[in-house]
Subunit: 292 residues, 2 copies
């Protein structure tokens, strides 16, 4: 949604790794509610091939969190995005919540439509855009799409597509503890280390404001930084080959940790200079006492 907009992002993004708690403490949905205040929330269920169920689930989950003005946005076909009744649903909305399903349904149905422009306007006006599972993946510039997880360590099994671009230079992956996810996020970053890989566990989210995000929820967030990579075989190797990638920097973040996307550092942490000093010390030590 960056294309042709040139708008400075001023709202808040919440990217959720899927399976957020809907019945207990609801840490993540509670944060969504807090940021919305009394505003209207559009629950966009377009990622599903069938709309049933998701909306009612969120309606129940949000009921006693103070979010009472909820509307469902579901379009089966791209043509429906221009209908007056579709756009009327979004009038006065303070936030949009993309539910799970297939991220290609979101991008192919909404990309470059009046609905997508309305989402961007809500965001630019200081509103909240949240997404869980496919809804989180779709926030990327270039997003990961479904492939065979079991085989995702093979270079040829990595599938990407143009996403909504709400999070520039970030590739979001979700359900991150699932089989094979770290391999495919690493492969995606190897393709262009300009992109920062962010893998989010289930019932875990990043809350992004400007260049900074904070982690909330039960699990972990994995940040894959390829800036220092010294070798990868992503361009040379045959599709059935396994990925080779040396010197990736990885951060694991938990509830309460923050990350600075511009500096590519955990927030409030010393610069790389000190990290490198630590590494040099360690290397020196090992050099002095060779062998295992």
């Amino acid at each position: 949604m960056r294309d042709g907009e040139g708008t400075q992002a001023t709202g808040t993004l919440i990217a959720i790794g899927g399976h957020e708690d809907k019945e207990g403490r609801r840490t993540i949905l509670r944060e969504v509610a807090r940021l919305l205040g009394k505003g209207r929330l559009v629950v966009a269920t377009v990622a599903s091939h069938e709309p049933e169920g998701y909306f009612d689930g969120y309606k129940r989950a949000f009921a006693d969190l103070g979010v009472t003005d909820l509307v469902e946005l579901y379009v089966k076909e791209r043509a429906q995005t221009a209908l007056p009744e579709t756009l009327r649903l979004m009038e006065g909305a303070r936030g949009v919540f993309f539910s799970g399903g297939d991220q290609l349904r979101i991008s192919s149905t909404l990309g470059d439509t009046p609905v997508a422009r309305r989402v961007m306007e809500i965001f630019a006006a200081g509103g909240l855009i949240a997404g869980t599972s496919a809804g989180a993946a779709a926030m990327s510039d270039t997003m990961l799409v479904k492939g065979s997880n079991a085989e995702s360590h093979r270079i040829g099994d990595l599938h990407m597509a143009p996403g909504l671009g709400l999070l520039p230079n970030v590739i979001v992956d979700q359900h991150f503890a699932e089989r094979g996810r770290i391999g495919r996020l690493l492969g995606a970053v190897a393709q262009n280390p300009r992109e920062l890989g962010v893998g989010i566990d289930e019932d875990t989210a990043i809350v992004v404001r400007g260049d900074r995000f904070e982690v909330i929820g039960a699990g972990g967030v994995y940040v894959v930084d390829g800036a220092g990579v010294t070798h990868s075989n992503i361009a040379e190797a045959a599709p059935q080959r396994a990925l080779s990638m040396f010197d990736v920097r990885l951060h694991v973040l938990g509830d309460g940790d923050s990350f600075d996307l511009a500096r590519r550092r955990p927030a409030d942490m010393p610069e790389m200079r000190e990290t490198r000093a630590l590494e040099a010390d360690a290397a020196g030590e090992r050099g002095a006492q060779p062998g295992g």
Copy 2:
């Protein structure tokens, strides 16, 4: 098996991530056969609670690879390790292959027994010690043992135990594409970054000679180096908390890649100094053009 031995390792270790191909090209078993030559191979099935099946499977798989002198070593109870008929099986053996199951069965049944000492003698005499799945995990000094994978991002779900110590200062994890594995290997390394974490995919192996290993097989090998870690919450956080760990160095290796365990570098790759220069350049670039 290091304790009290003081033996300089001179043999070859093969740690396999589980589910190695037994019917097709058999890249890994072929390498086992090549290294064995015409020597006797002891297939140790002690990791299983029941011995049936594994031995016959390997007998079939190795038959046309030239390994014809195969014997099965199975002990149900620790007391059996001292029986003359048990030790007679290992006479003249050139290699030992530990099959999968439960790594705690291997360490608790064989640790500090005549069988374990015989394994170490075979290794010291230039023989081959191979292990798949639990048999690979057990090679570690301190090994990962089964926990709940789904929850392994929580600090309290990390379970470790003393392993055989064939691979000093290395923690081997196997079936590495499975759910939650990267989180638990990171947690294990956070506990003491002296240990290098090595996660091995299925049908993939590391072949270790001295301080160097080479990767063979279909998948990837993930090397987790915690030497440069600037922060972790492993000691402070409550067991139900998620792991926090900043500035991990990660290498992804595929078939044909080599790694130097003493230098902690992919083999034949420039030293960290150059990596750091690359990182400094990248940081400088980002500093000059702030924003995402």
